[in-house]
């Protein structure tokens, strides 16, 4: 990702940047099992911003994504993407989705280039024959994430970070105004994380709207303009500075945090609030937790506001 082309391509910037917005009002999603995973959720997101969707495991982050992509029908409420209903937005290729790594079969016989080309399918004709433009956009997307040299690799033969970049390249090739990333930093090294974040920054400058679910609280204030705090419903939503506060995070993570503090011997061994102090200084909690602990939510921290106790 160090080799990143500077321009997004003027067409992409103009067409895809304008008015990318997500509006969720009174959303409720009930699964077939009868479980209401999300209820009464409302938030508005503006174009040209990066928004974090933050909450513990099972708080409904993936459910919100599924609702935005129309995979699950809301039991109540309404979602509008760029002012359009979900189905219409999907058919216009407005939404590009970067899946969680666990959703992919890494043994599937496809090469890196083939995966990125999938991003163009929505733009192709009935027979899905790639045009010169499609090929060009695939090249450009691979170049942008620094994966050009890997285009003929089978996707299983990549590192965790490289895999993520490939799927990000697919989203770029798709040219969606709205990009959804489900836990993009899970199983990714710090260098790739930094590179992804800087790429997201460029896309923001080009007017894209990115919604990112993450456990990686430490870096949220660094690159997210807005935060939606989730726990079965929206606890708080708005600009990072207002929403990403100690008090709010404790509301969202309270029980879970205490649990992990008690159990996490590699953090520190006592359960009192001083944990927070210790970890406040760590900008990237993910670096501390190894891969095996990747599901663990990081403690709420605000690097620029160390808590003094």
């Amino acid at each position: 990702m160090n080799v990143m082309a500077k321009s997004v391509g003027p067409a992409a910037a103009d067409l895809n940047g304008l008015g990318a917005s997500i509006s969720v009002r009174g959303l409720a999603v009930t699964y077939a099992s009868g479980l209401t995973a999300v209820h009464d959720a409302s938030f508005e997101l503006d174009p040209g911003s990066i928004c974090a969707l933050v909450g513990v495991n099972g708080s409904g982050k993936s459910t919100i994504f599924k609702a935005i992509m129309g995979f699950v029908k809301p039991a109540a409420g309404e979602i509008r993407l760029c002012g359009r209903p979900v189905a219409e937005a999907i058919s216009r290729n407005i939404v590009a989705y970067v899946p969680q790594s666990e959703e992919i079969d890494w043994n599937f016989p496809v090469l890196v280039g083939d995966v990125v080309m999938m991003g163009r399918y929505g733009h192709m004709n009935f027979l899905r024959m790639p045009s010169r433009v499609d090929r060009y956009k695939v090249d450009a997307a691979l170049e942008r994430v620094g994966m050009s040299d890997f285009r003929n690799r089978q996707i299983g033969e990549l590192s965790g970070g490289q895999k993520k970049r490939v799927f990000l390249a697919r989203a770029l090739a798709q040219e969606g105004r709205i990009i959804l990333l489900d836990e993009p930093f899970t199983g990714v090294d710090v260098k790739t994380e930094t590179a992804i974040i800087s790429l997201l920054g460029e896309l923001r400058a080009a007017g894209h709207l990115m919604l990112i679910s993450t456990h990686n609280l430490g870096s949220v204030p660094d690159f997210c303009d807005q935060v939606v705090l989730l726990n079965r419903t929206v606890l708080a939503a708005g600009p990072t500075a207002e929403v990403f506060t100690q008090a709010n995070l404790e509301r969202a993570f309270g029980g879970v945090l205490r649990h992990y503090n008690l159990g996490g011997a590699q953090l520190h061994d006592d359960a009192d609030p001083r944990h927070l102090t210790v970890l406040t200084d760590d900008e990237r909690p993910l670096v501390i937790y190894g891969n095996d602990r990747k599901k663990m939510p990081s403690p709420p921290t605000q690097p620029d506001e160390p808590k003094k106790r």
């Binding site: 992509m69 129309g70 995979f71 999907i90 058919s91 290729n93 939404v95 590009a96 989705y97 899946p99 959703e103 992919i104 079969d105 599937f108 016989p109 496809v110 090469l111 083939d114 999938m118 399918y121 929505g122 009935f126 027979l127 899905r128 089978q154 697919r170 798709q174």
Partner: protein
């Protein structure tokens, strides 16, 4: 000697058997490219056995066999879905239950009512004695399936690779999967004629599995798989002339031999290549 080898080509029934086998083998191999990727291989087997009562019933009633087969194929799918939803049994148990019950029913039907078709024909297939109407049915099923697959193979690939993404770009994944399973049942029915219910599973698994070892690109996997399926089926029918019958056995044996060859010798994913790589690494290490 030479002329002896050409004898099968001088009989019309042999020519018919060879090209019908090749057509069916090719389409089944096309489907196998998808099946082996999803861990759905046993679905092919289940469907092939489930349609037996439909085929037997159709012969008894004098209907085209495809009609009966299709009816029981749908019945089997709905039955499996129903049992799975309303019990806590796991998927493999449900598949096993439903297809064996239908298969048993088929054998019962075919043995109670004396019909033009014997149990043996359904279970083992008999392409050498295939009737002209059946040839027409098999040819239509295969040709339509092949055409649909050629039109939609990329969409199906995305659905199999990354279903969530497929939906996010507006593909109707439910319809595409329904299309796939409809084609699968139709083609297993066609393959009943050539290799019989017991060996259909090989037709919809082995070529894809072999090709999977030979390439890392899905498009090529399909081409290799179809070539293997059609080639072995054609050759199998041809060889079975000299062995007097047992077409299904010959076809599947050929397919298995090719699989073993790939398993050992495939340039990248074969056993020997893997060993060579290990040796190189061991040799390079100080």
């Amino acid at each position: 000697m030479m002329s002896e080898l050409l004898v099968p080509f001088s009989y019309e029934y042999m020519l018919k058997a060879m090209w019908v086998s090749a057509l069916v083998g090719g389409v089944c191999a096309f489907l196998s490219a998808y099946l082996v990727l999803k861990g759905w291989s046993l679905m092919g087997d289940a469907l092939a056995h489930s349609v037996v009562p439909g085929v037997a019933g159709a012969y008894i009633l004098g209907l085209p066999f495809a009609v009966g087969a299709f009816f029981t194929g749908i019945l089997a799918s709905v039955g499996m879905a129903f049992v799975r939803q309303h019990s806590r049994l796991r998927e493999d148990a449900v598949i096993g239950l439903v297809f064996t019950s239908l298969f048993a029913l088929g054998l019962l039907l075919a043995s109670i009512w004396p019909t033009s078709v014997s149990v043996q024909t359904i279970v083992l297939g008999n392409i050498l004695a295939i009737s002209d109407e059946d040839v027409v049915q098999v040819a239509i099923i295969s040709a339509v399936s092949l055409a649909l697959l050629l039109l939609r193979w990329k969409d199906l690939m995305i659905v199999f690779f990354d279903e969530a993404y497929a939906r996010s770009i507006g593909l109707n994944t439910f319809l595409l999967k329904a299309l796939f399973f409809t084609l699968l049942s139709a083609c297993t029915v066609a393959a009943l004629q050539t290799v019989g219910a017991c060996l259909v599973i090989a037709m919809v698994v082995t070529p894809g599995a072999t090709a999977y070892l030979l390439t890392d690109r899905f498009g090529r996997l399909i081409v290799i798989s179809v070539a293997l399926g059609a080639g072995t089926s054609f050759a199998g029918a041809y060889i079975s002339y000299f062995l007097d019958g047992a077409t299904g056995g010959v076809i599947v044996t050929l397919q298995t031999l090719l699989f073993l060859a790939a398993f050992l010798l495939a340039p990248k994913h074969g056993l020997l290549a893997a060993r060579r790589r290990r040796m190189t690494i061991a040799g390079a290490a100080p």
